[in-house]
């Protein structure tokens, strides 16, 4: 059952990939002269939507079969949560598509969902037993609602990105073009991280170092990527002999600081290489290269979708990530609120989208300003997923 489940996830992943391509084709109406633009877009859009739906159903089957195999809702560690978050994004996209029939959102939303699911694959996917704190019906209620809320909010990011790519002036370099390229680079870095991690893992790469940590304990650390940044005063123990090229500075504390720094450097350098290659091929900014394909996109509609996703997602997020979270925390941890980092970041996300709504509704922040806010919102959601779980330790560090 567990095997079947992970196969279903693979299938879903590739169908999502196909759906993204089909959505992209739907935009290139001008180059496919066989039919007029509108019919072309409608036809390919329908196929894109159908494929996304099929992919979603496959992922849903993954979810159900894994649930059966594990005996509990598969949202209990980083692998399971992140894949579920990707699925929630696809689900949110399907709903938004039904309301607005916008193909261009699919061109951006589906790849982001794919990157999220690919990122999940870096974490161990073994079925884990539930520790006592997680044995509650609130596990499925709280986590799924929170992830769904974040998924809907992510659609706002996709729409914001469309808006920016379409409207940012690409004739000259500016702050806007820089940050837009930075967003592209960040997405590419995530892909680089996944590709490098899985690649070296498949090659069986591993180096073990030992060093003395700040509590004066001897600890060992396993590197699964070649060591660029080694532990401070680390000693080689076993495994591949490459590196380290330099030592992690002593002020970076924490048991895994060196390992995390190494991974970060690899992702950033890898992302830079990928990004550089793409720029070499395109011979202009990625934003500038995509812009012409969005010529027929109605930017007001995209802006509306961007806002609507927040309007729909904000209540769902609040319900799942704050209210249900508080109810569960009261039962499991004796208090509904305890300033645990994950709790705080849920509050930060809530405050951010509250500010977004007030800026938009009362201060008239629409269009580009609003689109940038949607991008920042997604960054906060990702921080909460990645940094808070992996860097800051707290009660939510289950994985």
């Amino acid at each position: 059952m567990a095997q079947l489940s992970s196969n279903l996830l693979y299938v879903a992943f590739f169908i999502y990939f196909a759906a993204s391509i089909v959505f992209a084709i739907s935009l290139f109406g001008r180059k496919w002269r066989k039919s007029d633009e509108e019919t072309h877009a409608r036809k390919w859009g329908m196929w894109g939507f159908a494929l996304s739906t099929v992919g979603f159903l496959f992922q849903l089957s993954y979810f159900i079969t894994r649930w059966i195999a594990a005996g509990h809702a598969p949202v209990s560690n980083l692998f399971e949560f992140t894949t579920f978050f990707g699925m929630a994004m696809v689900f949110a996209f399907l709903i938004i598509y039904l309301i607005y029939r916008s193909n261009v959102i699919g061109v951006f939303a589906m790849p982001v969902a794919i990157i999220v699911i690919a990122y999940a694959s870096v974490f161990p996917s073994d079925i884990q037993p539930l520790i006592p704190a997680l044995q509650s019906n609130w596990l499925k209620i709280h986590v799924t609602t929170a992830a769904l809320g974040e998924g809907i909010l992510s659609i706002s990011f996709a729409a914001g990105l469309v808006y920016l790519v379409k409207t940012v002036n690409q004739t000259k370099a500016s702050k806007s073009t820089f940050w837009l390229e930075f967003v592209m680079y960040s997405l590419i870095s995530t892909i680089a991280f996944v590709v490098l991690s899985l690649g070296f893992e498949a090659a069986g790469y591993s180096t073990t170092y030992q060093f003395i940590d700040q509590n004066e304990q001897q600890v060992t650390v396993d590197y699964t990527l070649p060591a660029l940044a080694g532990p401070n005063n680390g000693e080689y123990v076993s495994g591949n002999e490459f590196g380290p090229l330099f030592e992690t500075p002593g002020w970076m504390k924490g048991e895994k600081a060196a390992h995390k720094l190494n991974t970060l450097i690899w992702s950033m350098v890898g992302g830079l290489v990928f990004y550089g290659l793409i720029r070499l091929i395109l011979r202009r900014r990625i934003g500038a290269a995509i812009q012409p394909t969005l010529k027929n996109v109605n930017e007001e509609l995209v802006d509306e979708i961007q806002y609507r996703a927040v309007a729909i997602g904000f209540p769902v997020f609040t319900l799942g990530a704050l209210i249900f979270a508080m109810i569960w925390a009261q039962a499991a941890w004796t208090r509904f609120w305890g300033w645990d980092p994950k709790e705080v970041w849920a509050l930060v996300t809530f405050l951010f989208y509250a500010a977004y709504l007030h800026l938009r509704l009362s201060r008239g922040w629409q269009g580009e300003k609003s689109a940038w806010l949607a991008v920042v919102g997604f960054v906060i959601i990702m921080l909460n997923l990645v940094v808070v779980n992996l860097v800051i330790s707290g009660l939510h560090s289950y994985a």
């Binding site: 079925i127 006592p132 806002y307 309007a311 729909i312 930060v348 951010f352 500010a355 007030h358 800051i392």
Partner: protein, 541 residues
């Protein structure tokens, strides 16, 4: 003040500061014929903050009613909250560590700075509290400032709207009446099919739906204010109880915080772990590097209630209330209290047994068992032998002066000074007895205490909570959710239809989701043969 009221040409007297007549919609300020679209925010009603700006009270009111200020408060709270997660808060650092050195040791110079700035206790700091208070004030003032005039405007609006009002809406269109144009009744029907409430006056129509959605923001702000009040109530005595209770197997203890009315007995603590060879979880447990993964922490508890008055010096009379296995996620609940499973200690020392031996012959002259929580003063071993407990150190250590002392009342490292009385030594011989130690501080003895064994028990770490603020937080949370959904998932749409000679004027407004309104207008106009109104905001570009 009343002389400043503005009388509109329709005869309605508007409060001072009104921008758009509450009744007919005629713009009261600025150039009537300008092409500029009307600012429909808050219906152009007279908001106190926009009208009165002189006294101190006006200025404070205006400060807190400003959305800009509100957003700044939100952003400051957001940034402060995020900063609080960079390093762990004081409550999350290891229990016995000293924060003055912990942050520096663990996180270096930045950690020291973090501590010096007081960020290790950020969420309880005066300035964080002040920000939350400012947020509460802003919520109240900003809501009142807008809700009252908005309510007035929407309540008083009339079917017939001033021409200048209609022309300056985002969606506005004029249809010349032809044969195939629908008549008023048909238009009315089409609007009603879209669930509009339609009012008719002198051949003009006013269609409106989901006005309640406009109250969403104020409802959710009320919810938030209640929630903040709930958070404040915690600091009032009696509202909140938070006690730790360590309970040994087989023992009955008063439940602290319940004014001694309740007692809890533990029938045992259970720790279960997952089977490491379980097919399903084998890989994950191996990967985790842990020896075992916990499956269940459970205290089999019996709750008793004291009956009648307790007379000093006597045991209380107890009546069993209920049995409940307390597990993580399944607290024992009674009378507003909840008892949670949060911690445990396995194999805590309970009692120690010794024999008293004659050193020369090696013969035992008797044995005794000392309850480490409640040692007797003396243990009679018959035939003239007796052991007196002169001093007891449950958690023994030598203090700075080299004298024996105890760190705590928990028998982690019990030690005794015993006086061994025998027929040959009727005054007794003094021995110092601890784990793996046997000293004779006052010189060579003829008898010695030989350690036999220990008895251990499991101890449950429980937390007793009462939180009388939960109900108001729950109500606040529920109202907030209702308000947010009400405001976000519905849109307030209005369509005005006005006959003017042979033309039909149509204008429309929504507070948000213009795309939805446009689709609705498209459907209505195509059914009725009316002209689809233009988007005047788009035209101007």
């Amino acid at each position: 003040m009343s002389d400043k009221n503005i009388t509109c040409e329709c005869g309605h007297i508007n409060p001072y500061g009104t921008e758009i007549c509450e009744v007919c919609g005629k713009p009261l300020q600025g150039d009537l014929e300008s092409k500029k679209l009307l600012n429909m925010r808050y219906e152009g009603s007279a908001r106190r903050s926009q009208t009165y700006k002189t006294t101190i009270i006006d200025k404070i009111w205006n400060f807190f009613s400003s959305v800009k200020v509100g957003i700044w408060i939100i952003v400051l709270l957001l940034v402060a909250s995020a900063i609080g997660t960079i390093f762990p808060q004081e409550m999350y650092i290891p229990p016995l560590s000293d924060p003055t050195v912990y942050y520096k040791e663990q996180y270096g110079v930045l950690g020291q700075l973090y501590y010096d700035l007081g960020f290790h206790n950020l969420y309880g700091s005066w300035w964080y509290m002040l920000l939350i208070a400012a947020l509460g004030l802003s919520l109240i003032v900003a809501s009142l400032d807008r809700f009252v005039p908005l309510y007035r405007s929407l309540k008083k609006q009339r079917v017939i709207r001033h021409e200048s009002f209609m022309k300056r809406q985002k969606y506005f269109g004029v249809t010349e009446m032809k044969e195939n144009t629908a008549n008023l009744q048909e238009i009315k029907k089409a609007l009603e099919n879209k669930r509009y409430h339609v009012k008719e006056e002198d051949g003009h129509l006013f269609a409106e739906k989901n006005r309640f959605s406009r109250w969403g923001p104020y409802v959710n702000h009320i919810g938030l204010i209640l929630f903040l009040i709930g958070g404040m109530l915690r600091f009032f005595p009696g509202m909140y109880v938070d006690e730790v209770l360590w309970l040994r197997e087989g023992e009955t203890e008063k439940i602290k915080g319940t004014e001694e009315a309740y007692y809890l007995q533990s029938d045992g603590f259970i720790l279960e772990t997952y089977d490491n060879n379980d097919e399903k979880f084998k890989n994950a447990i191996e990967e985790s590097g842990q020896a075992a993964v916990a499956k269940n922490y459970q205290t089999d508890a019996v709750l008793y209630k004291q009956v009648g008055e307790r007379i000093a010096g006597t045991e209380p009379k107890l009546e069993k209330v209920k049995e409940h296995p307390i597990q993580v996620n399944k607290p024992l609940k009674f009378d507003g209290y909840a008892v949670y499973q949060v911690d445990y200690k396995l194999n805590e020392l309970q009692s120690m047994s010794f024999t008293m031996d004659n050193k020369e012959t090696g013969e035992s002259v008797g044995d005794l068992t000392i309850d480490l929580y409640n040692p007797d003063k003396s243990y009679d071993l018959e035939s003239g032998y007796r052991v007196e407990v002169m001093d007891y150190f449950p958690d023994f250590e030598f203090n700075d002066e080299g004298e024996p002392t105890t760190k705590s009342k928990v028998p982690n490292n019990p030690a005794f000074i015993l006086n061994m009385v025998s027929p040959t030594h009727p005054d007794g011989e003094v021995a110092f007895v601890a784990i793996k130690q046997n000293l004779e501080p006052l010189g060579e003895n003829d008898y010695k205490m030989s350690f036999q064994n220990v008895d251990t028990k499991n101890v449950s770490g429980l937390v007793v909570r009462k939180d009388n603020t939960l109900w108001i937080l729950a109500i606040g949370g529920a109202i907030f959710m209702i308000g947010v959904i009400q405001g976000m998932y519905w849109n307030h749409r209005r369509i005005w239809i006005r006959r003017k000679e042979n033309d039909i004027w149509l204008s429309s407004h929504t507070n948000k989701n213009w795309y939805g309104l446009k689709r609705e207008l498209e459907s209505i106009t195509s059914q009725t043969g009316l002209q689809m109104p233009m988007d005047q905001a788009e035209q101007k570009k």
